[in-house]
């Protein structure tokens, strides 16, 4: 009884950690998506004014052609950072994931850290 309960909880945690799924299955990949170009988000001017550092996590699907689909900011320390994150992610490109010889869609997350370093 107890091992089953642990198993259920563990799988629930896994599901929660998954990025939004949009056309990608959960089967294991032989090669995950490889970033070709992920532009750096602009540091929001308002955040600089307010001396804010922060972090965002953006999740999306990389489709069979390496294009970003359904990008979403799933975590953000401040909404100010979400918009530039999404803008950058939308412009990203990847080599698609592979399963065997096939290109397949895959879910993918990236973390963006915005920091103000003292000069």
């Amino acid at each position: 009884m107890i091992p089953e309960l642990i198993l259920v909880l563990a799988s629930a945690a896994l599901v929660e950690d998954q990025p939004p799924v949009n056309g990608a299955d959960d089967l294991p990949l032989d090669v995950p998506p490889v970033p070709v170009r992920v532009p750096t988000p602009d540091y929001p001017r308002n955040a600089i004014r307010r001396e804010l550092s922060g972090r965002t996590v953006a999740c999306f699907t990389v489709d069979k052609r390496g294009r970003v689909r359904n990008p979403q900011v799933v975590q953000s320390s401040n909404d100010l950072f979400s918009k530039p994150t999404l803008k950058a992610v939308r412009k990203a490109s990847f080599k698609p994931a592979r399963r065997g010889n096939d290109s397949v869609a895959a879910n993918y997350c990236r973390t963006f850290r915005f920091s103000l370093e003292q000069r």
Binding site: V38, T40, R49, E51, F112, R113, F114, Q118, R119
Partner: protein, 171 residues
């Protein structure tokens, strides 16, 4: 030299006024001219001086403003003149002199937000970052949404910080 060409040197209106409804206006961040509305200036030397400054003829702007200052009839006009002299001297890179002029402008009229902006600009150029930020904040208390002041604040922040964004696969 820091930000001389990037930051607005706000010009006080000869009537000691706000951006739009009184004579003169402000210099844009890149040093170009902003909108100008000249409505019956009471001191033509101050008005001509501010126009010369807006046109980028800083030496002439300072000369005319100094004449206008001698003819000024009120503390408000004198404060505007000192603030404009401060702006002109910033552009001429006479920062110590500019600071004196801004201080005089604020002595006469402490709520002159343009003088606070110019003063912040001078202090930034002198590398006195904390004082520059305090000057911006003083100006923002008077004119909270002034884009001119916010540009100076941006410059101060960028002088203090290097904004960086790193990307990783780590959660």
């Amino acid at each position: 030299m820091l930000f001389v060409t990037l930051i607005a040197a706000a010009l006080a209106a000869p009537g000691g006024a706000s951006d739009t409804a009184r004579p003169s206006a402000g210099i844009s961040a890149a040093g170009g001219t902003g909108s100008r509305t000249v409505i019956g200036p009471t001191n033509t030397f101050l008005a001509d001086g501010s126009m010369a400054l807006l046109a980028g003829d800083y030496a002439e702007g300072v000369r005319l403003t100094e004449i206008g200052l001698r003819m000024a009839k009120s503390d408000s006009e004198r404060s505007a003149a000192f603030s404009n002299l401060c702006a002109g001297h910033i552009k001429l890179e006479h920062f110590d002199l500019a600071l004196e002029q801004c201080d005089l402008a604020l002595e006469l009229k402490p709520n002159q937000w343009r003088a606070h902006s110019n003063r912040a600009n001078v202090l930034l150029n002198l590398g006195r970052l904390e004082e520059a930020e305090a000057a911006v904040e003083a100006g923002l208390r008077i004119r909270p949404n002034s884009q001119t002041l916010l540009r100076v604040l941006d410059a101060a922040r960028l002088e203090r910080y290097r904004p960086t964004v790193t990307v990783s696969d780590d959660p």
